[in-house]
């Protein structure tokens, strides 16, 4: 579609979708904007779901990103509690759950991802995943019931935060991780060990290198059997073993789906169709690599970029330096860049012992990433160097 869009339909009413809608208005687009979302809630922020809301420090309304009034004021029509079931590109038509069809002109796909579950645990009370506000409130109610023992499966960022929040509530926590070090596949073993020590310092029973063989119980979960033959009693289990993209509704649509919606460098998936956020896979030219990023900042920026791309074909490639934060106990962990576990790692500020440091990653002579424990300033300075494609030597020589 070379003509400017006459109307924009956005599927997925969360961070990426909302940022797309807001960017359309910021850019002066004054045609109809419709936001279709499967959840009943107006768009809300997910990071507090494993932190302040789960801890009980915030009521859910503090996580709201907008409300019905604001949406109406921006002329954004929100159809909430409505799921898109199919896409017909040729007819430029969406089918909603229930069979209603809706014509669209231009489309933003922002349906994000959902949690992987442990097969066979779906019916067992006390077993949780954490993605939505409803998930969070169900888990929070179970934690408030003062369980004896919480088992968290998966020591990725979400699992680590849930473990930290549950410890903050004074609960006994066992954290089970299949890898030899938590986040080892992301941060490398050396930094993964630091994460492990932080959990142990806070009294978490961390079991690494073990998988889950079975989650057992009657109506309610009672124990988790591990692959090393041991078993752990549990009255609450939280499963944090990664996500699956919500792309089933796009099957047969003609869009290319490969662990996400495949886009070009500008976030375009087909004529007049863009994708953004956790669901989008695109070649990031800054890194010469195709990626899909599951971070807050990416969803917000990519939503806005994709919207601008719909309005103006001259909008260039989307080339961010991925960045996120994770709050665990009293540590604010931040990672920027695109690191691999076998990159060279050097601590450039502070020390690992005091758990307040910045470490940079390098590969093939270039700085690839920066990890900070309570070092936001350093993370942002090195992030700028990554953006400028600085060499590892230059980064090592920098003094912030």
């Amino acid at each position: 579609m070379t003509a400017a869009p006459s109307a924009v339909t956005i599927v997925g009413a969360s961070l990426a979708g909302l940022n797309a809608a807001e960017a359309l208005r910021r850019e002066g687009f004054d045609g109809p904007v419709t936001l279709i979302g499967a959840e009943d809630h107006p768009p809300y922020d997910r990071p507090p779901l494993s932190k302040q809301v789960l801890a009980g420090d915030w009521e859910p309304d503090r996580a709201a990103l907008t409300d019905a009034e604001e949406l109406a004021a921006d002329g954004i029509e929100a159809r909430l509690g409505v799921r898109a079931a199919a896409l017909d590109l040729a007819a430029r038509e969406l089918t909603l759950d229930g069979g209603e069809t809706v014509a669209f002109d231009s489309l933003v796909i922002a349906t994000g991802a959902r949690c992987r579950t442990l097969a066979g645990t779906e019916e067992l009370a006390g077993v949780h995943v954490l993605r939505s506000l409803d998930d969070c409130l169900a888990l929070r109610a179970d934690l408030e019931a003062a369980p004896q023992r919480v088992v968290v499966v998966g020591a990725g960022f979400i699992g680590a935060e849930v473990a930290a929040t549950a410890r903050g509530r004074g609960l006994e926590v066992t954290l089970v991780e299949a890898l030899p070090t938590p986040l080892g596949r992301v941060l490398g073993d050396e930094m993964g060990r630091v994460c492990a020590e932080v959990h142990r310092d806070h009294g978490v029973d961390l079991r690494t290198g073990v998988g889950v063989d079975a989650v057992e119980g009657g109506d309610r979960v009672q124990r988790v059997r591990l692959s090393d033959g041991s078993s752990v009693d549990a009255d609450v289990v939280v499963v944090g073993i990664g996500v699956i993209c919500n792309t089933e509704w796009l099957e047969g649509s003609g869009l290319s789906i490969d662990d996400g919606v495949v886009c070009d460098a500008t976030c375009l998936a087909a004529e007049g169709v863009v994708a953004a956020g956790d669901v989008a896979r695109w070649p990031n030219e800054l890194f010469g690599e195709t990626m899909r990023v599951e971070h807050w900042d990416n969803a917000a920026q990519q939503g806005a970029h994709a919207a601008r791309r719909l309005l103006d074909p001259a909008v260039g490639p989307f080339t961010p330096v991925p960045w996120f934060w994770s709050d665990q106990y009293d540590r604010k962990i931040q990672l920027a860049g695109r690191v691999r576990p076998d990159d060279e790692v050097r601590v450039v500020a502070g020390s690992v012992e005091e758990r307040r440091f910045a470490a940079i990653y390098g590969r093939a002579g270039r700085i690839t990433g920066v990890l900070g424990f309570n070092r936001p300033r350093h993370v942002m300075r090195y992030r700028a160097m990554i953006e400028q494609r600085a060499s590892f030597q230059e980064a090592l020589a920098a003094n912030f």
């Binding site: 900042d297 934060w325 936001p376 942002m380």
Partner: protein, 64 residues
């Protein structure tokens, strides 16, 4: 134009500092400092970018 930061919301993640290091600085004490609260109009679009990108929605612009 005046920059207003709600320090109860700010969590010092330095996103604003990356966009406008001449206006915002997170120092070694982990607190955010506003280096220039009343920048000129030429800076408006950068400050607006900070408003939009702050993950905590802690920044706003007052036109008084």
């Amino acid at each position: 134009m005046r920059i207003v930061v709600d320090f109860d919301l700010c969590e010092s993640n330095a996103v604003c500092m990356q966009i406008a290091p001449d206006l915002f600085e997170v120092r070694d004490d982990d607190f955010l400092y506003i280096l220039n609260e009343t920048p000129g109009e030429a800076d408006r679009s950068r400050v607006q970018e900070c408003v939009q990108r702050c993950p905590k929605q802690a920044i706003s612009i007052a036109d008084d």
